[in-house]
């Protein structure tokens, strides 16, 4: 039985490799290679879909691989891609600090390339042909502005907020918090908790929110999450404790969960960060570089607040 299973698995493996590898590119089309550090993140899927769509529209074939937030792996992937004759490269880094050796390598290849989403280390930012990313601090500022707007509409003497963050040390998390603090500094908004990191994991966000509800109960007036997934986790805890409608909710994100809560009127507002625009822009800018056109060193993805009335103006994922 075991022998039969092993033979079947070997055959499945062989067929998988051969069939997966047998998907040949269209003859003559230029090839783009993308290493995505956040391949499996909720934000990654629509962004990568947009890259594929735009590449197809512009006549390129594209391969996207999972960099698994491992800079060494990403470096090796790019080296393999260059050895395989890819014409252009897209780099989505996992963190800022590890970007210099990869940026230096990409420049040494002489191939057109762009960086995406995670802003590279300041020491090599001017060496990147084109950086396509949201202004992360600005997203944070919007969260801060929306906190102020919420309390203008729902006046309170205490203005108590629970604020759930992503991953400690990630530039995205840190920059959002910088933006939030910049805007609410000098106001009487009170972030009740010490820094709480749910690492973009809904179940961790749920646990944090449960702890906050146990500790502060109905003193909490507004819960803010740095993304839609963590918002969902926090919402589940709030729902289980029977607090839906009794406290305000605010997050960043453009996923369907966020949309549904906006429609239901349970979410005060969200801050847009559009993966489709970002992915599409990356290929557009790369195409311009390939054709020898001049591009801006920095291309910011548009950001702004989304209220219930605006939901039809956005593409959700």
């Amino acid at each position: 039985m075991k022998k039969a299973c092993a033979i079947v698995l070997m055959l499945v493996l062989l067929v998988s490799v051969v069939s997966a590898g047998g998907q040949k590119e269209a003859g003559g089309a230029k090839k783009i290679f993308m290493s995505s550090a956040y391949y499996t993140a909720p934000y990654g899927a629509p962004l990568q879909e947009a890259v594929r769509e735009k590449a197809k529209e512009l006549g390129y074939t594209v391969q996207i691989v999972d960099g698994e937030q491992n800079a060494d792996k990403q470096l090796s992937q790019f080296k393999a891609a260059v050895a395989d004759g890819y014409d252009a490269l897209i780099y989505w880094p996992g963190d800022q600090a590890s970007t210099p050796p990869i940026v230096e390598y990409l420049n040494s290849t002489g191939k057109p390339w762009v960086a995406l989403n995670t802003v590279v280390d300041a020491s090599v930012l001017d060496q990147v042909p084109c950086m396509i990313a949201s202004d992360e601090v600005e997203i944070g500022r919007w969260l801060g502005r929306l906190m102020i707007q919420y309390f203008e509409k729902n006046p309170s003497a205490t203005k108590n907020v629970v604020y759930i963050e992503g991953s400690p040390g990630s530039s995205y998390t840190e920059n959002l918090t910088i933006g939030v603090n910049e805007v609410i500094k000098g106001t009487d908004i009170n972030i009740m908790n010490d820094r709480q990191f749910a690492e973009y994991d809904p179940s961790r966000a749920m646990a944090i929110m449960e702890d906050m509800l146990t500790k502060y109960g109905d003193k909490i007036e507004l819960a803010v999450a740095q993304d839609g997934g963590m918002f969902q986790g926090a919402y589940s805890a709030i729902e289980a404790a029977g607090y839906v409608g009794k406290l305000g909710l605010l997050c960043q994100g453009q996923d369907l969960i966020v949309r549904d809560k906006l429609v239901a009127g349970e979410l005060f507002a969200s801050v847009a960060q559009d993966p489709f625009t970002e992915g599409s822009l990356a290929v557009e800018m790369l195409d311009k570089i390939i054709r020898g056109e001049k591009v801006e060193n920095w291309f910011a993805t548009p950001t702004g607040p989304i209220f219930k009335a605006d939901i039809d103006n956005y593409r959700w994922f």
Binding site: S16, V65, G169
Partner: protein, 319 residues
Amino acid sequence: MRKSTLDKKYIITLLIENAVTVFLVGFVIFMVFTKRSFSTWDNIVNIINESSIYGIAACAMTVVVISGEFDLSSSSIFGWSTVIFVICINAMGIVPAFFITLVCGAAFGALNGLLIAKVKMPAFVATLGTMIAIKGLAYVMTKAQPINTNNATLKAIGSFNMGGISIIPIVYLGVLVLFIWFMRYTKFGRDIYATGGNYEVARLSGINVVFSKFIVFTMLGAAAALAGMMYGVRIKAGWAPYGQDLALYCITATIIGGTSLLGGTGSVGKTVIGVLVLAVLFNALTLLGVSGSMQKFIRGLVLITVIMLDAVVAKRQKE
């Protein structure tokens, strides 16, 4: 007639027993004929450089698995080591950084060894605990921020190469030779096999089983630290989450290499084949244009297939 039947059976057994090597050779041949870029020197060097960092830790993980245990915390020791290595380089230079990082790694390994060998905690629980604690400590050290370095010596070491091969595979080769010698030619190495094969029998025959287990974890801590430093040499940065897939990678390479999770059998040399299978597979899947999601599926399938083959071999050997 009888002789040819025996020969056929012998060849089949030989092929199954060496299925991983057969798979590796077959896959390499397939790739050489399918993708010309696979057999270019640049790509071969890339595979060697890429596999060497985790390969260093995989050698020590094999010894831990032979002793009948495993270690989840090596990932965190790796991440911690990238952090402390970069901090110390920026503060004191490369030589003190090297020794401090190595001693820290060995100390964390020794702590694991103490908890498992002396306190008799299950390896899963003990190393899960230390994994979380060490990662937390690394976050505290850096206020959770990734850090990088512009140290000129580190840059010089990082850019050293012989025909494209960096310093990391040379270090890997050194570690590999050391571990093969240790396991094959020293009494202590044989004691580790005996401890993993049958703990009680080894203890009753006078082997210091507690010390054996303590030492294997200490060695793994030091090896994970060395691997972390090599990562620092390549990337010139440190951050707690770096290397989070290290433990799983090392255990996978060890199993693919034919070392039994039950302990007592296996070899460091064969783990090299496991490391190479993973490296060649990752590289080949990228060259073949396989998407990230499909790559994960195939990698999982490889692991299951190898474990199944291992079970077939074990059954045949019993018969």
